[in-house]
Amino acid sequence: MASASVYAPAGFDFSNQVRNQFLQEKGLPLPKATSTGTTIVGCLFKDGIILGADTRATEGPIVADKNCEKIHFITESIRCCGAGTAADTEFTTALISSNMALHELSTGRKPRVVTAMTMLKQMLFRYQGHVGAALVLGGVDSTGAHLFTIHPHGSTDKLPYVTMGSGSLAAMAVFESAWKPNMTREEALALVSDAIFAGIFNDLGSGSNVDACVITASHTEMLRNYVKPNERVEKEQKYKFRRGTTAWKKESIRDLVVSEEVRPLGGAQAEAMDTS
């Protein structure tokens, strides 16, 4: 009798691999994953961290979602922006968020940003870059405010201001010219908005609105759709036809409910549902 392995299964099923390889050779194109194109930024200011992101999700040249949320929840005072394959970033951050919650219950301490960073980098390294998630992780814990980037292959950087995604060069240009240490909240929010604008207006993979998240030691504030520079203009005229524009000849109304009978089920005395 073969003994079962004590190790947890890898989770991913490779049994279709031979078939997929065969089909690909015959010319069948692989399905395209929704990517987040994207501009995500993070910056350190006097009281903590501000994270910013645009809200466009693309599928090749098509905009798949005009208002998607790229700032994911890890713990109460730690958030993570995700660029790359949308499913990968959402799934990875959700998994790490669950693991952080379990870890917090196990240790009994407020969770730290380095813990989330280590969990993320170890997982991404194990998948050798096949999980396409480029992340900006920031938060405030008992040791202070920290900001990290995590690349899809598992390398990390600890920096005072970071940008990731296809619009990262545009956003980084803004940061490099205007960032200074110990900014106030208003200055930092304005800088982050400017950096995301640079990405939205100069990069095709980023667009729509600006999301921001301000994390301080006392509380976290999620500013969803902080600025909306791409609102659709309202049409100037009304294009409806007035009633009676088309002549009609015959009217027939059919009642869909012909007859209705209520029969209570569930034994001789039908008990009323307990809705208290």
């Binding site: 299964p9 693991n99 379990l102």
Partner: protein
């Protein structure tokens, strides 16, 4: 597995086997996978698959090797004995598998990984008990 201090599984795996595409008779299943070709079998060895499937085992082997070097042979032997005792009771293949004691011994009782929610019995197409048993004992 022989004692080794590797951190990650080695990239050169053994050669691809016919087991992937075999039907119940043990031969290549042409109906499902197309004609058999050596090129397919050699090319479709995915390095990521081999790495993911052997990851936990390699890490575990490292820990056991270090314990053997530091404390002596008895340390890993006792741990392996405990695991074997705990996984001795076989479970019904059609129901979701769960072995809490083994999870505690392997140190994964307080973490979640992809294997916990992908690839389980619930995800597969519902098969009869005979097919499930066949799948289990082919391991």
């Amino acid at each position: 597995m022989e004692p080794s201090l590797r951190l990650a599984p080695s990239p050169n795996a053994k050669a691809a086997s016919v087991q992937d595409t075999s039907n119940s008779l043990g031969l290549h299943d042409t109906l499902q996978y197309g004609p058999r070709s050596i090129a397919t079998e050699v090319k479709t060895v995915s390095p990521i698959r081999q790495r993911l499937e052997n990851w936990e085992q390699t890490q575990d082997n490292l820990k056991l090797t270090v314990q053997r070097n530091v404390y002596g042979l008895h340390a890993p032997v006792r741990l392996l004995m405990e695991r074997k005792i705990v996984s001795s009771m076989a479970q019904m293949p059609t129901l979701p598998q769960s072995n809490l004691h083994l999870d505690i011994l392997m140190g994964r009782d307080e973490t979640l990984c992809t294997g916990d929610f992908f690839g389980g019995v619930e995800m597969r197409t519902p098969q009869s008990i005979h097919q499930e048993m066949e799948r289990k004992y082919r391991v």
